[in-house]
Assembly symmetry: C2
Homo-oligomer: 323 residues x 2
Amino acid sequence: MSKFWEDYPDITEELEDITGIIVKNVKSSEKEFDEAISPLVNAGGKMLRPAFLLLSAKFGEYDKDKMHNLGAAIEMMHMATLVHDDVVDESKLRRGVETVQHKYSKEYAVYIGDFLFCQCFIMLSGFDYSTENLRDISKAISKICMGEIRQYNMRYLKNTSLRKYIKVISGKTAALFSISFYTGAKESKCDEKTSKLLGRVGYYIGMAFQIIDDLLDYSGDSYKLGKNAQSDLIKGYYTLPLIYAMAEDRENRISTILDNSSLNNEDIKEINILVNEFKGIEKAQNLANMYTKKAFDYIEKLPECESKQVIKHVAQKLLNRNF
Amino acid sequence: MSKFWEDYPDITEELEDITGIIVKNVKSSEKEFDEAISPLVNAGGKMLRPAFLLLSAKFGEYDKDKMHNLGAAIEMMHMATLVHDDVVDESKLRRGVETVQHKYSKEYAVYIGDFLFCQCFIMLSGFDYSTENLRDISKAISKICMGEIRQYNMRYLKNTSLRKYIKVISGKTAALFSISFYTGAKESKCDEKTSKLLGRVGYYIGMAFQIIDDLLDYSGDSYKLGKNAQSDLIKGYYTLPLIYAMAEDRENRISTILDNSSLNNEDIKEINILVNEFKGIEKAQNLANMYTKKAFDYIEKLPECESKQVIKHVAQKLLNRNF
C-alpha cells in the first residue's frame, strides 16, 4: 500500500480490503497469467480512484461491501488501461515495477489488459448496481480510449495547442476521476446535486493532477516517480510545459532540437533549460493552480461532513506533491 | 453482408439492421477512429454470433429491438477480440481486408479494440438486460482471453496434446457461440432447459466450426478464406491436423522440419504432404464430425419451430464448408 494514505488508517484499511478483492478477482487457472498480474496488484499505487469513490460514497448511505466491490472494479479498469498504455508506449517501468509488455511481451500485455477489462465487467454485473451507473463507467473508459488515441495521434506534432492538450487530459485522466466521485455518490443515494458537485470536484482534481504529472517530467526527480526521465518527450508526447514554452520561443530553438531524428541526453538537457527559460513550467503550474482552485471552490460547496475534510486534505497533498 | 445467409432474406434483413446499429455505436468524434473501424464493420463477415442469438431468441418471446441491440453488442465484442488477435498475430489480412494493426499500427489497434469493448458495454448497460446475462457474456469474453493466452503460450510447442488443443478452442471459439445461443433464449424468456439445450448446440457448433477452420488451413484455398496460406503454422500455432499427424510420425519427420529456424515454402509443402500422409486431416475431420453429430443430437431435442429448422440447415451448411 502506498504511503500516501498513512494519515488515514481507516481508508488504508478499506483500500487493503479492496486490494484483497482485486487479488481474488484476477485469479485464474493459468499460472503464467497470475504471475503477470500479481505484481501489478501489489505495485503500491495510490489507488486514488477507489479512494475517491469511497470518500464520495460517505456523503450518502455508505454500503461497504458494495463500494469495495465497485472500487476494486474501477481500479482493475484503471490497471487494464495502464497495461495497454505500456504496450503502446513500450514502457519498461511502471510504478517502479517492470511492465508486463517488457517482462513478457506486447502480445501478452494485450490479453492481460483484456482479461482485466472482462473480470472488471464480470464484477460490475455481479453486484446490484444501477445499469445507469454501469453505462456511465463504460462511457468514462471509452473517453479514456479516445483520450489516449488523441494523444497518440498528436505525437511529434509541434503545433499542439493548449486546447488539444486539455481535451486529451480531460479524457485520459479527469473522466475516470470524475466518474469515481460521481458514481460513489449516486450509488449511495446522494441527491443529484451533491453527486454532480462531487463529479466536478473529481474532474478538476483530475485535470490538476495530470498537469502536475506532466510538469514533474520537467522539474521532478524521475527516480522518485518510478519513471524513466523525460520518457514522454522522447516518445514524442509534447505536454503542457513544452507547449507553453514553444509558444514563446520565437526563434524556434526548441523546435529545431525536436527536429533531430532522436534526442540524446544533451538535447534533453537543452530542452529542459529552454522550457524553464520560456516559463513553461511556471505557466503549467499556474494552470494546475487554476484547476486546483476550481476543485477547492466546488469542495467548499459540498455539505459538511468528515469526508469533505478528508477530500480537502487529500487534494491539497495530491496537488502539492513533488513525488 | 456475407452471402452465407442469402437463402434467408428475413435473417439477412435483421443482420443488416444489426450492422446499422453497430455503425451507429462505433461512431466517434475522432475522424481517424472512424476510418479505422468502418472497414471492420463492413468487411462482410458471416455475423454468426448475432445470427445464432436471433435464431435462439425465436424459441421464446422475440423482442426485435432488444435482440438487435444485444446482437450488435456481441458482434462488436467479437470484433474487439479479432482486432486484438491481429495485434498478437501480426496479421496483415482479415476477411480479405487489411488489418488495423497492419494499416495503422499495433498501438492504434490496441486502443481500437479497447474502444470497441467499451462501446459494447455501454450498449449492454443501456438496455434492460438482466445483470445475470451481462455477467455471462463478460465471462464468455474472459474465457476467450484465457483461450487466446493459452494458445499464445503453446506456440512452437511440439508436444501439444489433443486435450490442450480442445481447451484452447473451447475457450476461444465455442464459449462465445454457446453464450450467444444461451443468452438469446434466456433474454426471450425461454425456460432454463431449452436455454441450456441451445447453449450446448452453440458449444458443439463452435467446436466443430473451429476444428474445420483449422483443418482448412491444411486443405482449403487460402485465397477464398481471405487469409494468408498456413499463417498459423508459420506463427507457431500447431493445430489439430498437425497434432494428430505428429502423434503418428514416429521418425519425427515433421518435428525435424519444424526445428528449422524459419519455414520456407518447401518446408510448408513438405509438412502438408506429411500431415496428409499421417492422416492428420482425416482424423481432424472425424473429430469435427463427432462434434457436428453432437450438435445435431441436441438440435433434435429442441422444441419444434421454424427456427429449429433454420439452425439445422445453417449448421449443415457451416460445417460442410470449404470456403
